[in-house]
């Protein structure tokens, strides 16, 4: 049977947990300054990337070839992640360098191939960061880029991506991409297994439990709270062996898109930020012995709760 061509989309985000409380307090009036915190993989996308590697491993055991590709939208902060994915066995690695100010591309990074429009722009995009691109609250534009990349450049037949990503966390990108491609979309995916005949067995959370479905690509799989949540690490030897593999950098114009115009049409615009006080009341239970403390805990805090159950 023919190979399955998989594309995993991922986003590199600021590590919001590294922000101080004061940064959030200032955010209500000034916008959240995330430029200075380190970058991490969006957690749902990290699951998606590892699930795809697991799918590839399992398919190989069945004699089926899975061709993995990875796509992200952003600046050079994405490239170390793409290089890691290449070292892990992703055969295609691409970044769409799209920002609010138009199409920007890198021209001097080693091992980086540049699309025609990106090359024509000739601008060093080192400073462009996804967080500053205007795309964080523009799910329609993001979906448009992904769908165009699939149709015009990658021609993949299985699209895997996280169900949502910060800071927007709207969770609409997978649906929008599926609609644009005309593919079915399965959400809250937690596992993907090959059946060896071109079909996949996919697990997904539903309100009443775990749904297991058999489906045949093309389709979009939106990964939710999967048990697999961490990406494996390539060895230094893997990195050395695959260091010459190139990363494709495309401008949105290479995909026939005018990002600036699309952003102007985007309906979702953040206007204010309100912090949610998640502090919880706490108490230190006093007592001479653990038995005394356990009794106080039960009498004062637990017995009423148990009665209400």
């Amino acid at each position: 049977m023919s190979a399955v061509r998989v594309l995993v989309c991922f986003k590199v985000t600021p590590d919001f947990e590294a922000l101080r409380e004061a940064d959030w307090a200032a955010a209500a009036t000034q916008g959240v300054q995330t430029r200075y915190v380190r970058r991490v993989l969006n957690c749902f996308d990290e699951s998606a990337l590892e699930l795809a590697l697991g799918l590839s491993d399992a398919a190989a055991r069945l004699g089926v070839t899975v061709e993995l590709g990875a796509l992200s939208i952003g600046g050079r902060e994405v490239d170390p992640y793409l290089k890691t994915l290449v070292a892990l066995g992703y055969e295609r690695a691409a970044r769409v360098a799209a920002g609010a100010d138009g199409d920007i591309a890198d021209t001097d990074a080693a091992g980086v191939g540049v699309g025609a429009a990106a090359g024509a722009a000739g601008v060093d995009g080192a400073g462009l960061d996804r967080a500053a691109s205007g795309l964080d609250f523009a799910p329609a534009v993001v979906a448009s880029i992904i769908a165009s990349y699939v149709l015009r450049a990658d021609h993949s037949d299985l699209l895997v991506l996280g169900c949502r990503s910060g800071p927007g966390d709207g969770g609409t990108v997978p649906f929008r991409v599926a609609e644009a491609l005309g593919w079915p979309c399965l959400t809250r995916v937690t596992s993907i297994e090959p059946l060896g005949d071109g079909r996949l067995r996919v697990g997904a959370m539903v309100d009443d439990g775990l749904l297991r479905v058999t489906l045949r690509p093309p389709c979009v799989l939106a990964v939710g709270n999967a048990l697999v949540s961490h990406l494996r690490a390539p060895t230094l030897k893997d990195r050395l062996e695959r260091r010459e593999r190139r990363i494709d950098v495309l401008a949105a114009a290479d995909l026939g898109l005018d990002i600036a115009a699309e952003l102007r049409r985007e309906a979702c615009v953040p206007t204010a930020l309100e912090t949610i006080d998640r502090r919880r009341r706490g108490a230190v239970i006093a007592g001479a012995t653990p038995r005394d403390k356990a009794r106080t805990l039960f009498d004062s805090y637990l017995s009423d709760l148990i009665e209400t159950l």
Partner: protein, 480 residues
Amino acid sequence: MHLSREAIVEGLQRIVGPADVITDRRILVESSVDNFRKLQNIFDVHTMPVPAAIVMARSTEQVAAILRFAGEHTINVIPRTGGTATEGGLESAVPDSIIIDGSAMNRIVDIDAYDMQATCQCGVPLQALEDRVRELGLTTGHSPQSKPVAHMGGLVATRSIGQFSTLYGGIEDMVVGLEAVFPGGIVTRIKNVPRRAAGPDIRHVVIGNEGALCFITEVTVKLFPYFPENNVFLGYTLKDMKTGFEVLRAVMVNGYKPSVARVYDPGDAGLHFSHFAADDDCVLLFMAEGPAGIAKATADGIAAIVAGFAECTRVDSAYIETWFNDLCWGPDKITAEDERIRQTLNVNRTTEISADWSSINDIYQAARARIIAEIPDITMMGGHSSHSYINGTNMYFNYFFNVVGVGPEEETAKYYLPIIGIICEETLKRGGSIVHHHGMGKARAPWVRDEYGSSYYILETLKHAFDPEGIMNKGTIFPL
């Protein structure tokens, strides 16, 4: 006379009462190791002898009674407080050991803002002490990455050092006095004075003893005024670690005292700074603190020195400040890291050494090259220098490897110990010290004679004198 496990428990219960003697099998098994065998703990695979009991000591008198009991019956005891050791110091190397846990001795005895010193029991978390003195506009100046979880007794016992050591020093520079209990239940107090020349400095018999000589019950540490509003951060990228070491040396030799002075190699920098540094960049960073004039003069002086190294490119200081605010590891980060390891079998380990300026780059280069060449499945091999002195600096090797083809119980033998061996060999070859601040534990104890050379006589004599029955933390510092 050798006691059964049951008799050991009964003896301890007579001393502290039944409620403070833990015999739950699960807790005992988990307490048979520390972070040196963290992979075994993560996968619940345990190979070390199970302790007979954990006894929660609540007073110096109880500690003394427990040590008398252990001495009478030649039972191995393992002192611990926060339990954050990384080098096997808290492992039970022999069967039926007693773990003396001082974490319930957690009272801050006194904070003296006039004499600028604070006295606390061994089980006071450093974070708790720091939070209390901060309310008075003071700081301990001690900030190891384990600050949220480590306790004062353990920090002194392992000769800890903090992130601001270049200004405040290591814990040995902060401890002015202490109380410790030696085998036989002998309670000793070293009084709190600014300095004295009345013979050898006996604090150093206790500081760094790793529970192999005595149990530390109380410590008094210095306090310093806290001026966070004056902190100045400086950050640079550069391409060569050798240049980084040269910059650090120039800063130290010219007399500057930044609280933080670090250089990261590209591998280690990639873990922290990839949002502003290229993947082949080293990162150099400083923090100056203190009264406004001193902080500014220190930062200005360092900036002028670094400006003399054309290879260094200044980055926005906010990158460094933001990174620094998220550097300490609390329980949440430890749990998250354990889960990452459980899923990926990609293990992160560290080994820290020190050497003079002439040798440090050679040790870094030689050890790194050998580890990459000789150890399989390495996924990252890097490190940083984070504690500098007038005559040299440390190197904190930071490395990751995938555990392939062996179970969790074989991880140390296949990967960790061979890596430690390479680092120790390359360090000793060039006259450095194989341990900068984690302690010898049991992991590096096999190299203790090479580390000490002819001065091992002094160390060995201390052990024989203070612990003649050999009941104190067998295998730690002194190999079995």
